[in-house]
Symmetry: C2
Amino acid sequence: MKRANRSSSARAGGDGGVAGGEGAGSEAEHAEEITSLEGIPALSLDAISSVAYGPEAMLVVLATAGAGALAKIEPITVAIVVLLVILVFSYRQVIRAYPDGGGCYAVSKANLGHRVSLLAGASLIVDYVLTVAVSIAAGVAALVSAFPGLTPDSLPISLAVLAVLTALNLRGLATSARALLAPTAVFIVGIYVVIAAGFLRSRPAPGAGLHVAVPTAAAAVGVLLILKAFAAGCSALTGVEAIANDVPIFRAPKVRRAMRTEVLLGGILGTMLLGLSVLTVRFHIAPEASQTVLSQITGASVGRGVIYYVVDLSTTAILAIAANTSFGGLPVLASLLARDHLLPHVFGLRGDRPVYRYGVVALAVLAGALLVAVNANTNALIPLFAIGVFTGFTLSQTGLVRHWHHDRPGGWWARAALNGLGAAMTAVATVIFVVTKFTAGAWVVVIAIPALILLFSRIDAYYRDVATEIGLGTVPPTPAPQASLAVVAVTAVSQMTAAAITTALSLADEVVAVSVQFDDERAASLQSDWDRWDPGVPLSILRSQTRSVTKPMLAHLHDLHRQGHPQVLVVIAEVEPKKWRHQLLQNQRGIILANALRRHCDVNVVRVPFRLSKV
Amino acid sequence: MKRANRSSSARAGGDGGVAGGEGAGSEAEHAEEITSLEGIPALSLDAISSVAYGPEAMLVVLATAGAGALAKIEPITVAIVVLLVILVFSYRQVIRAYPDGGGCYAVSKANLGHRVSLLAGASLIVDYVLTVAVSIAAGVAALVSAFPGLTPDSLPISLAVLAVLTALNLRGLATSARALLAPTAVFIVGIYVVIAAGFLRSRPAPGAGLHVAVPTAAAAVGVLLILKAFAAGCSALTGVEAIANDVPIFRAPKVRRAMRTEVLLGGILGTMLLGLSVLTVRFHIAPEASQTVLSQITGASVGRGVIYYVVDLSTTAILAIAANTSFGGLPVLASLLARDHLLPHVFGLRGDRPVYRYGVVALAVLAGALLVAVNANTNALIPLFAIGVFTGFTLSQTGLVRHWHHDRPGGWWARAALNGLGAAMTAVATVIFVVTKFTAGAWVVVIAIPALILLFSRIDAYYRDVATEIGLGTVPPTPAPQASLAVVAVTAVSQMTAAAITTALSLADEVVAVSVQFDDERAASLQSDWDRWDPGVPLSILRSQTRSVTKPMLAHLHDLHRQGHPQVLVVIAEVEPKKWRHQLLQNQRGIILANALRRHCDVNVVRVPFRLSKV
């Protein structure tokens, strides 16, 4: 799970909520502590599952230059694995420096200032949304590779998977790392079996033939294409940062275990990428619309037997779980941003169930829109993907250089150099992504990130203004009671009306009843019922020609206000049924009137529920 | 427009609304009175536009028995036109008997009793929904016949048309009959031009050839198939009842003008159906997936030139307008049913705009679901279509027989005989539809109509029970004030909190403040702020371990209740921003708490808005 850091400075209040700001995670959340090995299923699936789309993303780019260019995947993969090694060692340092969990947002805020932390927050949001969309699309691609008949339904299946994940997360279903151990092991072992079988079954192309082919291909392959393929392949490195974000969930010694998991992740991911790239070349695999590259490799290595289906379906499962981890991440990040007054405060709200509902829904809506926009095609999302992640890489590592420089522990310069190297390489990679992929879709991210930053600042400014206007931090004058008038909205004479008038009499100094009526007959009948009852409260009947209840009511209340009643309370009686479904049968006039009064009138409204006991 | 009758007996109250029941239509609705000719665009488009799918529906059935069976469309069309003539004369009688507009629901209620009127209401609802779905699907089919490239997008286009109609109707856009005159005239003239040109261009098949062909075909065509084709073709008769439903909108002499429109409609529809069926045979037209039958006939008659596109696009326009008229009908019917306590009362609600919003939305959702279910394929909806309409035909005419028998005006037995013949024929037709189309989709209607009737009765029973329980019609005891306690929910010390306490002091005999806090630091800081302010109201700080605001609040209120406070008022202060979009930035804790309290606790809640003036 990518998790943003939990420490946060909350500016008090600033909003009309009921109780103070909430801290991010309660202690109960971390009851389960994990080992190094369990760190792989718990925190590394986003990274490891990317072998399902990273190599394919490279091949798609290379294929544009003809079949001869496909062999370039090997050297490019070597470059990506070198970058992976640097990142792994750099993030070991992040773990050591931020043992409380150093999300890119938190590291940036601590070391690079408020403005840069906004950039970190924005790129993390983009990253989470894309992780969900890419993982689901790739998982469904793996599924339809095994069952080609499902191909036309890729988008509906993707949206169904998204809906299931959303529902599970709204219900607050916690997935235990231990439960994920088995499918993760199946997937990892499966991929290694595929690689081993592939190496046994294939022979390297005879040296001569290869050397003849490569120069002609190389001539045709420009630097730009190589860079584009590199940029696409770097999508396989997303998720490497996740372990560093969640150090506290490891069992003691936390830092050691987390660092070990990071190395383990690097080893697994690196060897898989290298093995798959070699097999791609040996089996002459080219991207196909109907089948993923991983499915082709698997088929070529182990045949389309039981092992094929196990590997393929475990790929789908692992990608779905990887998408699920973003559902753990974005809502927490959004709640932190909300607490820093950068996103609407609702993102910090949790019900009795420990779920940031609004964040889960927002993530589902955004990822769903992306899936629809690209028709669940993984490769259309790849150009958007790595930019946010690599921006995050660059920021965390740059922040760490500042951190070492400030704290200056023993050997700080070596550490700073390593993080600096990582920051420089990921910064260069980010620039390569933006430049080479701009027209292919990266422009979306180039617009989205500054737009998010602008949104953060506008929201921040709004909350500051509100805090000033409600006089937060000032001492208000001592409150004193004022004369009060209750206006009871009446439909007919009933026990319910009597209950509403009892409430009004208990609360206000003076009580009047008002009824809006549309025809003379009913108006007269109400008046005579009222006179017969004689509740000690005067009734005004307002006639409405336009069939509107709210307009005459508003006019009447404005009159009362002008006659100098400082505190007017409108009392609306409503039937409150026992069964929820009966709520649908209740007239919504009460809530409509209440909302209209709230908007247009300086009165308070109390809706008095009349609880049914029999129906 | 099919409109249900406006007279209705409203049972008073029975619901916790604010004001009495509303009459159905205000007088302003009928400002525009129409002539006989204007009755065609205003009330007859549903019927006339059905030439776009009726003949095709027959051909689709006949084609299952081979190309030779297609010629059977001619005798079947003759039978349908005979039925049309009987219906036209029968409905002239309905117009005369119910000059105030005799919807099938109203006629059944007046003559056949409560239970039968439920059947009428249910079949009308089914009919309105199907009219919208069939008209839109057929209109889009006409469109894609002209532009075959759009064929794969039929469903999205259909849903877009539905969305536009829904939006127009929610905005209360009134379409004037005069504005519709031009497109209606283009369509009618266009179809006649097609028929005339087709007759000129084609020759009747040589007598001998025809006679040789027909017997072999006839041998192959069973009675069941003929009945099925007849049932499918009867979809062309839907909408014949619409004029009788809306007699009051005609200019005086209303009855005469309405009767003239009915005959005019019968003449236009009958000649069109006969002409098109002859051309179908002459041009050897068979149903095609990519092009409607009407488009094929048009192309064969006038070529694919300008006239083709005018006829084809006016067909799409007329079908869209026909769908729109259902949007005028169902919401009014639903409001009548709501007023009779058979549907939820919200369907009787209108805002300041004269639109039954809930009915419009319900119709759009149901029609949209149907379009999605059949993938916007008109012919898949045809088996469901005519059952509801013909049930309505049968009920109105049977009702009229009872009406004549009861009133016994001069020559009543001749009138009763005519209506009786109509009722018998439509009843037989309804049975034919159900039997022959049951497995093809009619089962949906056979389930839906009784399900709706059951729903009506359940809702009716519920409202009766509620009226009893709230003591409607009884004289309640005289209300007396009770001791009141206000509990102010507090987040922080601010002007907003001060305003809430002022309101509480003005209303209740006793006031306390309560705050739910999650950590010690903030709790202590709030307590010291409170002590410094000293508003004369005690503050209780409730500590929550589970991060829930509502649970500790509920427990506290239950305690207060147990200590014997009969009237507890919870006061929640909320920021009320000036701009609507800023509402999104407000914490929703107030409304969440208010809803939780309403559900679980016997207190009243007042949410006091603190109006921002600057932000």
